[in-house]
Amino acid sequence: MLRYFLKRLLWMIPIILAVAIVVFTLMTFCPGDPAEIILGSEATDEALEAKRVELGLRDPYFVRLARYLSDTFIHFELGTAWKTGIPIADSIKERLPRTMLLSGITLFLSFGIGVPLGVIAAVNQNRWQDSLCMILALIGVSMPNFWLALLLVILFAVKLKWLPALGIGGVKYYILPAISSSSMHIASSARQSRSSMLDVIRSDYITTARAKGVPENQVITKHALKNALIPIITMMGTQFGKMLGGAMIIETIFSIPGMGTLIITAVNNRDYPVVQTGSIFLAIVFSFSMLLVDMLYALVDPRIKAQYQRKGKMKRRAK
């Protein structure tokens, strides 16, 4: 299993390199003149041209690409933002944890609240608990997270003045962002959990468990849930990307200085090095998270574990 994990980890390297190349190339197509952004529109033509040479913008594409890749991955020199002059490495170091924290809270809530809700709905199929949970879930899944954020701000920050509308600080600064970021995912989790549980509950091995005399609550928690978790974890994996993306948008509403505000401001300012490098770092974090999710599968499903163990061995060409 460890072999499989290491193999996957090694695979990440070419993929991230490819991501870096693709993002870099895309950025070269972006409109806007970096020299002008840095020096301002008042600068003279000579100054602009000098700056362009200084930035290496007059070099051919491959040279610039190679320079970028070696700077970023070999020398770990991430450069500075064009607009603000702040070293990108510093920005990322400071902001990435905040974005990960918000995404992490979202993941935690989506699992911790969404799954139990879905299970309750499944176990009480067609009764009021089921209908209630599913209607709430349908609404939750349909509310755009940034709109919910604004509504929550109106209610809790403006009208009731219970919670702050922006910034970071203590726990209370994260409450509204966490709620707006997670509501859609809690709802989505609940729906998926309900569906998985219903599938599992209909399975033959659940009937076997009941026929053995296993008490109903153990049938649900010990037998059904463990099996239902497998598709639920799959879904969490695919949702995590949306959670990250959602967190980025939520940051802008609550002025949380995270990767979201960094990259979005940079895009609006045409500050492309920041967009480039920031995206690549997010890609690294995201890919690694996906790898962790895949490993988690193996913990829960022994069939997958067996598959990984086979794959960790000599790679055979399957035809």
């Binding site: 033959d204 091995y205 076997t208 026929a211 053995k212 037998h223 463990k226 022994p302």
Partner: protein, 330 residues
């Protein structure tokens, strides 16, 4: 047929499955008797209600969409249908257990095999975990699986071995009654023989009474003592194996035996029973088999048949039993 006190008695059992659209009458007034230490074969085609009866005995019909409308299921004098859920739970897996049809899906894929057996023991005894595990290993050995496979998962076993594990789970607590729902249908013929032998051997060893559900008359011949034929949710004929095989009296039973290809002779065509079983969503008037029966009279379409005694002493529910017998003798 002996009249000794029946160990398991089902009387007038009616079970329905329902959805918002319709009601399926799965079991329509079934009367059955099982004797201690013997095997009762319950024979019928798919959809006749066999599995439903077994699940009703254990009361593991699905929560949603099924209902035992009326009837009683008495074991050793106690009506199971009147028991509280808690008491019923003590019986499941312990006094009465069940083997299921499809071994591929009957085991929990994420639970180790030994643990699945051990769990059954632990639920019904005060033994420590080690003792339960020991018992589980004994059961594994008994069904022909080496002890060191205790910690493996179901996907690591073949279909036949999975079925043995299911049997091990069912017999772990020495049940008094074993309900075997087509235990060999999903297996290869060669494995079938092995599994049947195993079940018969264990049954003799523990003096377990068994209800063997099957659609295969060959299996019945090999393993059963008594036979009940079920059609459209009702028992149409009931007797010892010898009585049923030598003197089938109900037209349906006669048809079943007639449909078996003759290994010795020279059949040109197979002789299936014409027609299809009735739609279970519609209530039946008269005899359920009448539309397919060549001896049917007006009475058959209007009056529900009563259970008669045949000349050799077994039971048959047919108005025109005598005609069918005469036909058979030809």
């Amino acid at each position: 047929m002996s009249e000794n006190k029946s160990y398991l008695k089902i009387e007038n059992l009616r079970v329905e499955y329902f959805s918002s659209k319709e009601v399926v009458h799965a079991v329509n007034g079934v009367n059955l008797r099982m004797h201690k230490g013997k095997t009762l074969g319950l024979v019928g085609e798919t959809g006749a209600g066999k599995t439903t009866i077994a699940k009703s005995i254990l009361r593991i019909l699905p929560d949603v969409g099924s209902r035992i409308v009326e009837g009683s299921i008495t074991v050793d004098g106690q009506d199971l249908l009147k028991l509280k859920e808690n008491d019923m739970r003590k019986i499941r897996g312990n006094d009465i257990s069940m083997i299921f049809q499809d071994p591929m899906t009957a085991l929990n894929p994420v639970q180790r095999v030994g643990e699945q057996i051990s769990e059954a023991v632990r639920l019904h005894s005060d033994m420590s975990k080690e003792d339960c595990d020991k018992r589980a290993k004994e059961m594994l050995k008994m069904v022909g699986i080496t002890e060191d496979r205790f910690s493996e998962y179901p996907h690591q076993f073949s279909g036949g071995m999975k079925q043995r594990i299911v049997i091990a789970i069912a017999l772990a607590c020495n049940p008094k009654i074993l309900l075997a729902d087509e235990p060999t249908t999903a297996l290869d013929v060669t494995i079938q023989a092995q599994v049947l032998d195993l079940v018969a051997e264990l049954q003799k060893k523990f003096n377990t009474s068994m209800l063997l559900i099957t659609h295969d008359l060959g299996v019945v011949a090999q393993v059963c003592d008594d036979v009940a034929i079920i059609y459209a949710g009702q028992i149409v004929e009931y007797g010892t194996k010898e009585q049923i095989f030598h003197h089938p009296s109900h037209p349906y039973t006669v048809g079943l035996f007639g449909a078996i290809p003759d290994m010795a002779g020279d059949d040109e065509w197979l002789h299936p029973i014409e027609g299809l079983p009735p739609d279970p969503t519609k209530p039946i008037k008269g005899c359920a088999f009448a539309p397919r029966c060549k001896f049917a009279t007006d009475k058959c379409f209007n009056e529900t048949p009563v259970t008669h005694k045949t000349p050799d002493g077994h039971e048959c529910s047919c108005h025109n039993m005598k005609e069918a017998l005469k036909e058979e003798e030809k």
